[in-house]
């Protein structure tokens, strides 16, 4: 079986186990790259400092205590080179699916694949899910159990209500104390100006930012013909129209929106990657790899 087949959303959607799905994605993707994921990573001593109550006793240097009769705690370089925060949009609009896989499912698969991949690279990965507020927050760590925790949260993730992308990003920006990689997976169906402004803020703080703009095939092509009553999945607002009549106008509006997002992201150093849920995930992973290679 060709490796790319495992990246096909229609195939991936048949895999219930998210870990398995992430593994399939990453292994399939990596085998396609023909590169070893194990290189350039080590745990190195950095300095000592006095022990304070509450420090982990495992980090006490017992040899030095024997020599000096004082408690010193070893300080190491981080266990990873990258701290990555995956920010996943779980609003109601992400639940839209015109085919087998919804945007949320697609984003969840992408997030899990990225987490798996990052973990395998000994990088720390964290997860933030949100709709109109932050639903889950998992700090960035680099441990196997931590991946399991992330995957569990992702597997239990359900679409929420309205969208507020700015808020979790702003919270994240305020909490980041060192250079990180922020991966935003969202359909961006919010105030894109504010979102991009927040992303620019993150970028200006020295973080690398990747925006995976996930959209459904139907959203991109608007293939409807029959007059229908369209219902907004978040606001429940309705609108009756003939799609055939407004298709060109719709696509024009959409392209204008997408162009704005792409242009603003590019101008501010934010990697922008438009993902179609009907297309394989390799594009998303390739985009991440490219950013990872450039930055670290």
């Amino acid at each position: 079986m060709a490796a790319t087949n495992f990246l096909d959303p229609s195939v991936l959607s048949s895999l219930d186990n998210l870990e398995l799905r992430a593994r399939v994605v990453v292994e399939g993707f990596i085998s396609g790259l023909h590169k070893s994921p194990h290189r350039g990573f080590s745990v190195e001593f950095n300095d000592y400092r006095h022990y304070y109550r509450g420090d982990d006793m495992r980090h006490v240097d017992w040899k030095l205590y024997a020599r000096s009769d004082k408690f010193y705690v070893k300080q190491y370089e981080d266990e990873t080179n990258v701290r990555c925060y995956i920010v996943l949009d779980a609003s109601a609009s992400m639940a839209y699916a015109s085919a087998a896989m919804s945007k949320l499912e697609y984003g969840r698969t992408l997030a899990s694949a990225l987490a798996y991949f990052i973990t395998r690279q000994r990088d720390a990965v964290g997860l933030i899910t949100f709709d109109e507020k932050v639903k889950d927050y998992i700090p960035a760590l680099c441990r196997q159990p931590h991946l399991i925790r992330i995957l569990r949260v992702l597997s239990e993730l359900k679409a929420g209500n309205k969208t507020d992308v700015t808020r979790p990003l702003a919270d994240l920006a305020s909490n980041l104390n060192r250079k990180s990689l922020v991966v935003l997976i969202s359909d961006m169906l919010d105030d894109e100006v504010k979102i991009i402004k927040t992303l620019q803020q993150l970028r200006s703080m020295g973080n690398d930012v990747i925006l995976f703009h996930v959209l459904d095939d139907a959203e991109l092509l608007f293939p409807f013909n029959q007059s229908s009553e369209f219902i907004d999945s978040e606001t429940q607002e309705t609108f009756i129209t003939s799609p055939a009549a407004i298709r060109s106008s719709y696509l024009e509006n959409l392209n204008q929106y997408l162009s704005y997002c792409k242009k603003q992201c590019q101008s501010s150093g934010v990697d922008y990657c438009l993902l179609n849920t009907s297309q394989p995930l390799d594009a998303a992973l390739a985009s991440y790899m490219a950013r990872r290679a450039r930055s670290f």
Partner: protein
């Protein structure tokens, strides 16, 4: 625009079906939960508007499609060309309007006027039309004209039908003459009538015997405006004497009542009115018979002119229910018989047979007085209407002169000389007044005249003479003795013997009158007194001499009444009171009058004479005939059979539709609409 199959236009109602479906069965669109409406709601407003327009346009297209299909099946046609083509042949038309008595029945005349209006409405501009009203006489109400407005005004001004009977052919002949000289070749006659059968029969002789028909090319249109069911009673005949003498105190008037409508009436009532007073009412039973004769006895208490009216009632048509008549009751005629050969023995008495003839019956108009010639007194002449001198020879000259003077003053004398008369003496005494001078007696039995037969008979009679008209039959009397005579220049021979000698002569002297019978009135010279004709001969002759000429007093409407005898001497005018009471004055030189309504005409103010004017009974017979019967009788065989306007229009439409074929183009348009509808429908709903 016209349609060959206009009933299909009802299908236009189906155009409402798409609208009804749109309104009643408006389907709710399917619901699609979409991620966001931001890109949908911000689509251009004009697109949304265009979308709504598309829907309405689709609705409109579908309704228009149905309408087009309906129009196509109705086969439309631009008819302006039809009117133009119909107008290309201008028409000369003559409208014959029946104004006879029967048109008064029900709403016949109103329907007739409406029919005229319908004809005028169908005429095109430029057509010329004439109007002729007719009954027994024909009146050209308006010559051929293109002024329809004026013609309408003339029709509105028509007074209505009269009381005359109908005759079709004079009107048809007049119309034929008018159309033969008309402007256009397209000629047509419209005859509007109730088509009384007797209107055809009355003229049958003049038409069929001469084989008269309309000129070639003249089209005949019979428009029947009569009612299919008619109820009418009519006095078809009334028998009343024009003159009776005073002695006849009672007289029976006979009236014949008849039901002439299509519905037989079973009961009627006849009313007799005399001199304005109702005398009697008689019920008439017509259950078992179509007509009945009613006897109406009437008494006259005074002499003079009487007017009467018989009225039949019990029907719906009252215009013909009255019959008018006049009766002149005359006084008895006073006859003075001067007997020249009286005798105690009746068979030798000269006057026996004459007196017996004049007074030998129960009722006689004569009052006879007999005197012997020697005892004649001229004083009695003043009370005498006529003097009869029977074989008189012994009158003195004074008496004879008195008689002559009496005649010259307006009296009348009848001479019957016999064997006692001397020719010389007779000629001397009565030569001034007698119709002829006597020459010599001709006695055949005694052989006076050698070569003659044994007797003579009457061989020549003036049958037109008023006195002899009722006696126009073979005379079988034999005459063995007569007087040969030399008639006066102003005398007229009324009868001659078979030897050409005068038998009866008449002479008018001023207002007086004398007659000479050249034989005796006893059995001595002839057997005339024994003949059946003797009594009427003497009655008619003496009545003729005394009483005025029996004038015709009964006329029918339209007949010319000659009133010249009513003109008084020296008068230049004659006063006439018409049947409706209108006073008229006629010139004495042309005292003729024609009444147009039934009734009694009064002529003169004092000692008035009356003339009864009645409807011709034939005018009241409402039996009808089909217009096609008249059409077949008068239409010329060279005339192209007529096509109605509808047929001509249909043919023209068919001819015009062939090149037009609008329905074909409409079908193409409908197909195009189907394509457009499909295209828009695909864009709008799918």
């Amino acid at each position: 625009m016209t349609f060959l199959a206009p009933l299909f236009l009802l299908g236009l109602l189906a155009a409402a079906i798409p609208i009804a479906i749109h309104l009643i069965r408006r389907e709710k669109p399917p619901k699609i939960v979409f991620s966001t409406l931001r890109f949908i709601k911000t689509t251009k407003k004009k697109l949304v508007l265009f979308q709504q327009i598309q829907q309405w346009l689709l609705l409109l297209l579908r309704s228009a499609l149905i309408c087009l299909l309906v129009f196509a099946f109705a086969r439309p046609l631009f008819d302006t060309s039809i009117a133009r083509m119909l107008d290309t042949e201008p028409e000369s038309a003559v409208i014959l309007l029946d104004v006879s008595l029967s048109m008064q029945y029900g709403e016949n005349f109103n329907r007739a006027k409406q029919a005229v209006e319908d004809i005028l409405a169908e005429l095109s501009s430029g057509d010329e039309v004439a109007l002729i009203t007719f009954a027994s006489s024909t009146v050209s109400a308006m010559e051929l004209t293109t002024d329809i407005t004026q013609l309408r005004a003339r029709i509105d001004g028509l007074s209505g039908p009269g009381f005359d009977k109908v005759r079709f052919f004079p009107a048809l002949r007049l119309a034929n003459e008018m159309l033969e000289s008309s402007r256009y070749e397209n000629r047509e006659i419209y005859l509007i009538s109730d088509f009384q059968a007797n209107g055809l029969d009355a003229s049958e002789g003049e038409a069929s015997e001469s084989g008269w028909r309309l000129a070639p090319g003249i089209v005949f249109n019979g428009i029947d405006v009569g009612e299919s069911q008619t109820r009418n009673l009519v006095l078809s005949d009334v028998r009343s004497p024009a003159q009776i003498v005073e002695d006849e105190s009672q007289y029976d008037i006979l009236a014949r009542v008849r039901s002439t409508g299509s519905v037989h009436l079973q009961n009627a009532e006849v009313t007799l009115r005399m001199d304005g007073a109702t005398l009697m009412r008689v019920p008439v039973d017509l259950r078992d018979t179509s007509e009945a004769v009613v006897t109406l006895p009437v008494n006259f208490e005074r002499s003079g002119a009487h007017t009467g009216e018989i009225i039949v009632s019990g029907d719906e048509f009252t215009a013909d229910n009255s019959w008018f008549f006049t009766i002149d009751v005359l006084p008895q005629i006073r006859v003075l018989v001067i007997n020249g050969e009286p005798s105690l023995n009746w068979y030798d008495d000269e006057s026996h047979w004459l007196v017996l003839a004049l007074q030998g019956m129960g009722s006689t108009p004569f009052l006879v007085e007999t005197v012997d010639a020697p005892r004649f007194n001229s004083n009695v002449l003043a009370q005498t209407d006529v003097v009869v001198l029977l074989n008189v020879d012994d009158l003195d000259n004074a008496a004879a002169a008195e008689i002559s003077t009496y005649v010259q003053d307006g009296g009348t004398a009848f001479f019957a000389p016999g064997d006692r008369v001397s020719a010389e003496r007779f000629n001397q005494q009565f030569g001034r007044v007698a119709p002829a001078e006597l020459e010599q007696p001709l006695l055949l039995r005694q052989g006076i005249s050698a070569g003659a037969g044994e007797y003579l008979v009457i061989a020549d009679i003036d049958r037109r003479h008023p006195a002899l008209r009722p006696l126009a039959m073979d005379w079988s009397a034999r005459f063995e003795g007569i007087w040969s005579s030399a008639e006066s220049t102003d005398a007229e021979v009324l009868m001659r013997f078979d030897n050409a000698m005068p038998a009866l002569l008449e002479r008018n002297i001023g207002e007086g009158k004398t007659m000479l019978f050249t034989s005796s009135l006893d059995l001595e010279w002839s057997n005339l007194p024994l003949q059946g004709l003797f009594v009427p001969f003497m009655h008619e002759t003496l009545r003729y001499m005394v009483q005025p000429i029996l004038k015709q007093r009964a006329y029918t409407i339209g007949e010319i009444i000659d009133m010249s005898l009513e003109v008084s001497a020296g008068s230049s005018t004659l006063a006439v009171r018409d049947v409706d009471g209108t006073a008229r004055s006629l010139s004495a030189g042309s005292a003729f009058y024609s009444a147009q309504r039934p009734g009694v005409l009064q002529v003169g103010n004092e000692a008035a004479a009356y003339y009864a004017v009645n409807i011709d009974p034939q005018a009241s017979v409402l039996t009808r005939v089909a217009p096609s019967t008249l059409h077949d009788r008068i239409i010329n065989t060279d005339t192209t059979p007529q096509q109605s306007t509808q047929v001509r229009t249909a043919e023209l439409i068919a001819e015009l539709e062939q090149p037009q074929r609008l329905w074909w183009w409409i079908m193409i348009l409908a197909v195009m609409l189907v394509l457009v509808e499909g295209y828009i429908a695909n864009r709008t709903y799918r």
